[in-house]
């Protein structure tokens, strides 16, 4: 069994301890100001660079993966989304892909049952992925309350919906629990399923542990150890308004662990597989229409190649062609 997840777990624990101890020995400015700024900078520069680098390479061929009937004869109903020929179709296909993870929804599992090979529809991966991404998204939006003053209406509205269970005090946010749950499920999937375990490496476990770390510290602060929220907002608002400072009286060291994890995650994105958040928009098998036979696609580097021309061909076979009564250009 592949236990590379232990390295990632260890790395995240050590990183957490570093922030905890760092904050305790007076390095609040480092963990509360310098590192967050550097992380955001690394993220923005790294992300933009990566996407521009992708954009620099052309798309020489239109290699759509078609998942439905093409548009041909009038009386055959085309699959306008899974095999789009128009921009509208492509946009809908991309939206379904990005917002609903449509391809993942098709997932099946192969099983050998007696003499039959069967393919069972399985939605677990899709479900965990949807739970994970949407709860993470909600958590991020909710956190705007720490970075914007006054808190925008949509954040308040989201908080109301997210807290609708009215469970406990402070009220439970569903997204936080879902985030922790889904991330844990995704992690367990990697550790326990033999095939997943086989293909998973440190780079797969690290972000999962990091996000679990973020969720756990966040949940700890909100529901258990408690922090002085006003002080924390003072710090985060300082960051967001470019007037950074560490609030008087300080905030709990756990907060610095939380913030450090977030900084690491943010800075890690452009240099890792987490760039799939940008890549999904640019995948040529999904974002192109299958209208190749209607509209010529241009390859900017279309090379001149040496071809074997008809004349050369006839040169090789002229006598044989004439004998066989096949017309030739030169008698």
């Amino acid at each position: 069994m592949n236990v590379s997840y232990l390295y990632s777990l260890l790395a995240v624990i050590i990183l957490g301890l570093i922030a905890y101890v760092g904050a305790a020995i007076g390095l609040e400015s480092l963990f509360g100001i310098v590192i967050p700024y550097l992380a955001i900078l690394a993220f923005l520069v790294g992300f933009v660079n990566k996407v521009l680098d992708w954009a620099k390479s052309p798309v020489p061929f239109r290699i759509t993966t078609t998942c439905g009937q093409q548009k041909t004869l009038d009386w055959i109903k085309p699959s306008t989304i899974d095999n789009p020929t128009t921009t509208r179709g492509v946009i809908i296909r991309m939206l379904l892909e990005i917002l609903l993870f449509r391809s993942l929804f098709r997932n099946t599992r192969v099983e050998f049952k007696g003499e039959k090979v069967s393919y069972k529809w399985v939605i677990w991966l899709w479900l965990f992925a949807i739970m994970f991404h949407y709860s993470f998204f909600v958590v991020v939006i909710r956190h705007l309350r720490f970075f914007v003053e006054p808190t925008p209406f949509f954040v308040n509205a989201l908080e109301t919906v997210d807290g609708m269970l009215q469970l406990g005090l402070p009220g439970l946010f569903i997204s936080g629990a879902t985030l922790l749950g889904a991330t844990t499920l995704l992690l367990l999937r990697r550790i326990l399923l033999p095939k997943m375990n086989y293909i998973s490496r440190a780079a797969d476990y690290f972000p999962l542990f990091l996000i679990i770390g973020i969720a756990l510290t966040g949940i700890m602060m909100r529901y258990f150890t408690k922090v002085d929220v006003v002080k924390i907002k003072e710090l985060t608002m300082g960051l967001a308004s470019f007037h950074p400072g560490i609030p008087e009286g300080g905030v709990s060291a756990l907060f610095y662990v939380h913030l450090f994890f977030v900084s690491l995650l943010v800075a890690y994105i452009p240099f890792s597989k987490l760039m799939h958040m940008g890549g999904i928009f640019l995948s040529p098998t999904r974002n192109l229409a299958n209208n190749n036979r209607m509209k010529r696609h241009i390859n900017p580097w279309n090379p001149k190649v040496k071809i074997h021309t008809y004349d050369e061909y006839e040169e090789d076979f002229r006598d044989k062609m004439k004998d066989a009564g096949i017309p030739v250009e030169k008698e």
Partner: protein, 540 residues
Amino acid sequence: MGDLPKPDEMYESIDHTPPEEEWEKIESPITPGRYAYPAKDKNLSIMEFRTPGEWSPADEEWPLPENWQQIIHEGFKERLEKYRSLKIFMDTCVRCGACADKCHYFIGTGDPKNMPVVRAELLRSIYRNDFTTAGKILKKLSGGRELTKEVIKEWFAYFYQCSECRRCSVFCPYGIDTAEVTMMGRELLNLLGLNINWIMEPVANCFRTGNHLGIQPQAFKEIVEFLCDDIEEITGIKINPTFNRKGAEILFITPSGDYFADPGTYTFMGYLMLFEALGLDYTLSTYASEGGNFGLFTSSDAMKKLNSKMYAEAKRLGVKWILGGECGHMWRVINQYMDTMNGPADFLEVPKSPITGTVFNNASSTKMVHITEFTADLIRHNKLKLDPSRNDKFKVTYHDSCNPARAMGLLEEPRYVINNVCNYFYEMPENTIREQTFCCGSGSGLNTEEVMDLRLRGGLPRANAVKHVHEKYGVNMLACICAIDRAAFPPLMEYWVPEVGTTGIHELVANALVMDGEKERTTDLRFEPLKEEEDEADEG
């Protein structure tokens, strides 16, 4: 198939449990039955590739050039700059595992390196090490590894255990297409002169003689005339197809497999009979006598070189448009590459069926129509006299060929045609057809005898689905629209479901087609009685 295990033994032996060892540490990827013989120098030199001399993948030391690492590095860099797809596919995979059990080669072999994700990792690991910041700093931690000779062997082994069928790309949340990865990997191997002869010989042949099999013009004509004699014997109608005729309305191009060996030849006879019944003004070409394009399995340049003949010949002959036969990867090239590579075809007209008047606007730029589109249109307009009962001895199922399904979306046309020429048609289970169809196991140049073990294993998912409908409905005929299928299925069926035959769709069309002035038919195109005696049909 002498030293192959019995089907049930092979089936029982398939184990999907991953090995103890990490894939990075598993050595000696070259396994008998899973590698094809290397390309011969004479073929490589025709296509101007490096010629490594005589060698075998089983050799300890491979004939790599001195600066092979540099060649690969620079070749990789060049391709990253030319293909956004490659960059995206290298960067975005999260190893979610959705693709892992979608590959027929993984399902059939259980070899973890045949999981699409790992196959791509073989290349990705080198990409990370050589081209990414994280890889340069974190090395192994980011999933990078050094390019060694062992890696080259691994690439050779596994990029030639992928049939570029794109099934995995249907399931990938980012649309990562292993065909694209494999194509890039094969291009890199080509830079070192490492290719397989089953691909390189057809490519070289096609370049010189116009078709994969190296059939010369006079021989092509002789074969066609021979097939016409058969048609005459069956129908009493003499057909005289023309060759390289200028001024014909339509140029017809089909894979050479269709006129080389049965059951492809029956499909070819089917085309000729259909055209004769319609009185179509068409010609065959000896120069463009190949619909397929093994260049697709070699490099984009090789693909372009071979494909160029279609438009060049259409132009020379002055035809109005091109009609294409039943072939899988041929249609990937025509749909996704031809116009871009060798277009614009502004010397041709938007295809219009001379029989029905239907304008094929879907091919308004490429000017090339698929024969099942053409025939479906004919049937829709009642232009064909059909007697489907002539196919009554066939219980037919239909195999969607990978490329027409996933690189085009030709799903309904063939079904419509089959339903009109056969009375007994049964679909295979839904996760094995249409865009989820399984490869025949021999695609992308892997239909050679020496990889029979791989082919039978890779063909298992398809064969097993056929077996299902065979047992459930008594299916005894597997229809397809791909010349490689027609070559690959007979041995595959022989092994897994021996009672099922293989046919092209236009063989079924021609069986049912009532031609003006034909004599009463007593046999099908295979010279077998039209109706099998009842007891005989009722087998096993």
